[in-house]
């Protein structure tokens, strides 16, 4: 199966396929046509066929897709069939919320939570004691860490991101409202909450004036 040259737009749609297939599985649906799936997902059947063809297809002409097989294959493509270790840096409200979010469902296990505030030291979040940031380097060097989640204030984010890169981190999930300056060796996924809210604000205030759909997905 060739995975070279897949557009980022396709990659960003995969989690949504995964979610819909998971819901079908929960409802004991065994098989689904691209047409049925397209109606549920509100995308064209032809897009679904094209997207899934990037990964070798999975469908049989006239029989539709085997839901469980497709769900599992997309899960493998996304790397959800393995346990991936995550650390969270910044144990404020958002960091604690993410620690409690139950990403275990999709294979992510929080193994460390760090903060600079000594009053938080040793407090447990989701069963994990908050450590101080000065323990971060040692922790990273002695654990296999797949993703570092950054929920620190904007003013500290770039410095910490550079240190994370230096210490070997190669994937950062960034919630700080700033762009990080790391090399291309590091994958960064930004979740800029205030920008998301601003976009909603614009759409709400201009509804009726605009041509595009208001149902925008975070990654569209």
């Amino acid at each position: 199966m060739s995975e070279r040259g897949i557009s980022s737009a396709v990659i960003r749609r995969l989690p949504r396929y995964y979610r819909y297939l998971g819901e079908l599985l929960e409802n004991n649906v065994v098989r689904i046509s691209s047409k049925e799936l397209s109606i549920r997902m509100k995308v064209t059947a032809s897009q679904i066929r094209q997207d899934l063809n990037n990964f070798g297809g999975f469908g049989q002409q006239g029989y539709g897709y085997n839901v469980e097989y497709l769900f599992e294959e997309i899960g493998k493509i996304l790397g959800l069939n393995t346990i991936q270790n995550m650390i969270i840096i910044g144990a404020g409200n958002l960091g604690q919320a993410l620690a409690n979010y139950d990403f275990d469902r999709i294979g992510f296990k929080v193994i460390g939570i760090f903060d600079a505030n000594p009053r938080l030291e040793g407090l447990a979040v989701h069963g994990i004691e908050i450590k101080m940031v000065d323990e971060l380097e040692e922790f990273i060097k002695t654990h296999e860490i797949h993703v570092a989640t950054l929920t620190v204030p904007k003013k500290n984010a770039r410095t910490i991101a550079s240190q994370l890169e230096e210490w070997g981190i190669r994937a950062i999930w960034n919630f700080a409202p700033t762009d990080l300056h790391v090399s291309d060796d590091v994958c960064v996924k930004n979740v800029h909450l205030d920008e998301s809210l601003m976009t909603l604000s614009y759409n709400f205030r201009n509804r009726g004036k605009e041509k595009y759909s208001y149902h925008s997905y975070m990654d569209d």
Copy 2:
């Protein structure tokens, strides 16, 4: 100034312009050329000029952009120059984190937090007492609410969204990991955290194999 027919891609880039211009203002930068701005933002100068031309320009040939003016004009376009009232439905970890996030900075004021769990009733988050969901209809009908933020479990999200629409809400910021079924009268902005993490997981696992940039913005 015509705002008709602006592509959603442009709209989604505006908050990022707003953020960069805000940083320039903090650093007392008075004027910036599209070229300088393009280097900072890592987009082409021509895209910047095209994007801002959608709203009438703001730039003077050879003089660059007046940072403060551009910041304020984009803020107005995004509706950030007025106070917008927000309610949060779902006072779990994520709902509480959002209540504490300080969206006041961009004009959003949380005026109500609701949950179904009676043990949370009356607890204060960010100075606001948590109310029970059976008070929601009355509250919505007696307050001007611009945005309802949904941080409820997936299984309740669609039902609540339909009720919110019925009661007059026209903008939903949805954190429940499901697509809402509301009419086109309602603007929905989804923040699907697990899908964001899955995309990062894919990029991390396939780094070096892919052609696209790993620095993906939430709304690219």
